[in-house]
């Protein structure tokens, strides 16, 4: 099914959705949002593209097999949990690193929680896309 309106708006929407998904991912630590919802939004972008163009086009635009992204995401999430071991704390205890922190300020906070969220983002993103692509190809 080819629709001019859908194809044109999709071009705009895909970029917007992808940026928004990263925004949702990053604000997720203290505010509503996070890896899960970010991954869903990101996946929506590619699903929209798959509907507007075709599954093959969407898969080509993605370049990587979505199943690999999902599994890698699980790996990233697991490693972020393991990082607590370096500080000799129980599994999954959050580890924080404050880059360029002036005294009193937080600088740029980098945490294992963030990496866990990125892992979740990848797992959800990849998992949903694997599923949708498979179903689309099947039917």
């Amino acid at each position: 099914m080819q629709s001019l309106i859908l194809t044109t708006t999709t071009r705009l929407l895909v970029a917007l959705l992808l940026v928004f998904s990263v925004y949702a991912l990053l604000r997720g630590h203290n505010l509503p949002g996070g890896g899960f919802i970010g991954g869903l939004i990101g996946a929506t972008a590619f699903i929209l593209y798959a509907i507007a163009a075709s599954v093959e086009d969407a898969a080509r635009a993605l370049k990587v097999d979505p199943a690999n992204i999902a599994m890698l995401g699980v790996g990233v999430a697991g490693l972020s949990g393991l990082s607590a071991g370096l500080a000799n704390q129980p599994f999954f205890t959050g580890q924080w690193l404050f880059l360029f922190a002036e005294d009193g300020g937080k600088g740029i906070p980098i945490s294992s929680v963030l990496f866990f969220d990125i892992g979740v983002y990848m797992a959800v993103f990849g998992g949903i896309l694997t599923l949708v692509f498979a179903l689309e190809r099947e039917i």
């Binding site: 899960f36 599923l131 179903l135 099947e138 039917i139």
Partner: protein, 120 residues
């Protein structure tokens, strides 16, 4: 409110059981989808229905002020929805593949793995 929710859950469960009694696997699956949603409502109701604010803590504070909703059942329901979504999507794909390769969605006709005894 509890009563209303309980009645809703009852209706959803009854509908899903009706659907699941069908020999058509697809209708069975729809019943399963409904049932899993009914269970989510059960968990939600089990966490008590309160008219509280979202369980968010303001920046710098150590505890939320005012009455907040119970966050745990929400987390449980969210997890259950995600898992249920994955399982049901898999099942839908499986039903579709089965239909394509066996040519039927009637569970009575699915006898390939357990063929009827021919020599009686």
């Amino acid at each position: 409110m509890e009563l209303l929710l309980a009645i809703t859950i009852g209706i959803v469960v009854a509908t899903s059981v009706y659907l699941m009694l069908d020999r058509n696997v697809l209708r069975f699956l729809f019943g399963l989808v409904l049932l899993s949603n009914a269970v989510n409502l059960v968990i939600f109701a089990a966490g008590r229905l309160t008219a509280g604010a979202p369980p968010l803590i303001a920046d710098g504070a150590y505890a939320p002020d005012g009455q907040i909703a119970n966050a745990l059942p929400q987390a449980l329901v969210l997890t259950a929805i995600v898992i249920g979504f994955g399982l049901l999507a898999f099942t839908l794909a499986l039903v579709y593949r089965t239909y394509k390769s066996l040519g039927t969605v009637n569970s009575d006709e699915m006898r390939l793995a357990e063929p009827e005894d021919t020599h009686k």
